[in-house]
């Protein structure tokens, strides 16, 4: 299918979906509070925007998100690389990781509150957990998969010291995989933002809970779409950076 036809079908599909939804909720077949008509969403958005709430909520959520993303990514990649380079450490972490890995970020909420109180730190902590594990395992796998022949090359040309091997071979060689882990983390982070805020930390998540309590479901949809847009933007920005870093890879 040509690019233009593809675009046309995508737009038509979306329009049909919205039209059907609008018709269902206007016809009274579905209750407007349960399924608000899409046409009521822009008005709700304008109201949130003019009252300044939207900007405030987005700002706060972005702060939690950015802090959690940076912490989780940095610690995840660093720990993954370190463990991959040290066989003893790898053996030592095996069972610990197996116990901790399957615990979902939301299950940490009680501890987050006990340790950090109902605070932004608690939200950041919860967001960072899921991101940490993704990056930990991709970095670990990526470094272990580095072509041994390239390490031999480093030895042959006088780069046998650990730091030189790391910076000249291991990190660049595992960069494609590590970057795709970081990208997965960027998506995962937005998924936890809402959950990390529903226990009373100001941000998009809390605003959604408030709105649903008042049955202002169109406001809930405003923030759902906000998350989609923010994710789209961060992902788009990341892909630009990644393509630049991995320029050597393109064919």
């Amino acid at each position: 299918m040509s690019r233009r036809r593809h675009l046309a079908y995508a737009a038509a599909g979306l329009a049909a979906f919205l039209a059907l939804w609008e018709a269902l909720s206007k016809s009274g077949l579905m209750q407007a509070t349960l399924v608000p008509p899409p046409s009521s969403v822009p008005a709700a958005f304008v109201e949130e925007l003019t009252s300044g709430i939207w900007l405030q909520m987005v700002g706060e959520s972005l702060r939690h998100y950015a802090a959690g993303l940076i912490l989780g990514s940095a610690f995840g990649v660093a720990a993954g690389v370190a463990v991959a380079r040290m066989p003893r450490l790898e053996a030592a972490q095996a069972w610990i990781a197996r116990v901790l890995r399957p615990i979902p970020p939301l299950a940490w909420i009680p501890f987050a509150i006990i340790w950090f109180g109902v605070s932004e730190t608690a939200a950041t902590f919860i967001i960072s957990i899921g991101i940490f594990w993704i990056n930990y395992y991709t970095a670990l796998g990526a470094v272990q998969a580095v072509d041994r022949r390239l390490l031999e090359l480093a030895d042959a040309f006088g780069h046998e010291r650990a730091w030189a091997r790391l910076t000249k071979i291991i990190l660049p060689a595992s960069a494609p995989a590590i970057l795709s882990g970081l990208r997965t983390g960027i998506g995962q982070g937005w998924m936890t933002v809402v959950a990390a805020e529903i226990f009373g930390i100001s941000g998009i998540g809390q605003r959604m809970i408030e709105a649903s309590g008042l049955l202002a479901t169109n406001v809930v949809i405003v923030y759902m779409l906000t998350i989609s847009a923010l994710y789209g933007l961060t992902d788009f920005g990341f892909v630009l950076v990644r393509n630049r870093v991995l320029a050597w890879q393109r064919s």
């Binding site: 022949r149 390239l150 031999e152 090359l153 030895d155 042959a156 040309f157 006088g158 050597w248």
Partner: protein, 253 residues
């Protein structure tokens, strides 16, 4: 004449649990300064193990191995050309060439100048800013060779460097290597399984065979240079092939 590599009763291999697996046993070799020595043997006979030991990447199980390459500032005593070009795909060609120059105390500018000079010497002056994937197999091979020469070694180790190239490119690379060797006066230890190649290139051919492997014969190639590919050396090739088939008979017996 001064020797660059001297091996006596050299035994190489690896330990597997309690017992050691010997790949090479009682191997003698000496390479004189400026000499071009080829080591010929079947695949898996321990040629790469030998080169690794000379690089200092593997320790002998027994015997003596001395490498008398000079440690000099801004140079590396020994350099290696691998069977595959082994370029780093994330570095541009010029940066690949400078790989061995990093950590030698050269300034960024000196490194770039040396890399450019070497690129010109292998006929790739305009390719410095390309990515390795944009080069043909033969061009990548030349970059691998230039990378090794860039560190201005006393001893150049080559591990079947042209084995993966097509026949025409291989010939061109052989002649290019001879030219660079003649101009630089370094010693070359060239591993190959191709007798014709060994005889065309080397001052001396060492036949490696047996299990564990050892030197089955040393064949001086006295044909004058520049050599012809068809004439001068044919007698040598016959002799070495004869030696090789005897080695296989011994191995089969």
């Amino acid at each position: 004449m001064a020797t660059v590599v001297e091996a006596q009763g050299l035994t190489l291999g690896y330990r597997e649990g309690a017992h050691e697996v010997r790949v090479l046993e009682g191997f003698d070799l000496s390479v004189a300064r400026g000499e071009f020595v080829a080591i010929v043997g079947a695949s898996g006979v321990g040629k790469s193990t030998l080169l690794r030991a000379i690089m200092g990447l593997a320790r002998p199980l027994a015997g003596r191995l001395t490498v008398e390459a000079r440690e000099q500032p801004q140079r590396r005593p020994v350099a290696m050309v691998f069977q595959d070009p082994r370029l780093l795909p994330w570095r541009r060609v010029a940066a690949n060439l400078a790989f061995g120059l990093e950590g030698l105390g050269l300034t960024r500018r000196q490194r770039r100048e040396r890399a450019e000079r070497l690129l010109a010497r292998v006929g790739l002056a305009d390719y410095g800013q390309r990515w390795p994937r944009q080069l043909s197999g033969g061009q990548q091979s030349r970059v691998g060779l230039a990378r090794a020469l860039a560190v201005e070694p006393d001893l150049l180790l080559m591990d079947e460097p042209f084995a993966a190239l097509d026949a025409i490119t291989r010939r061109a690379m052989q002649d290019e290597l001879l030219r660079l060797w003649r101009d630089s006066g370094i010693s070359v230890l060239f591993v190959t399984h191709d007798i014709d190649e060994a005889v065309y290139l080397a001052d001396r051919v060492v036949l490696l065979g047996g299990s564990p492997a050892h030197a089955m014969g040393h064949y001086p190639i006295d044909a004058p240079r520049p050599r012809r590919r068809d004439g001068d050396a044919l007698g040598h090739i016959e002799r070495i092939k004869h030696g090789l088939s005897k080695a296989f008979e011994l191995a089969d017996a």
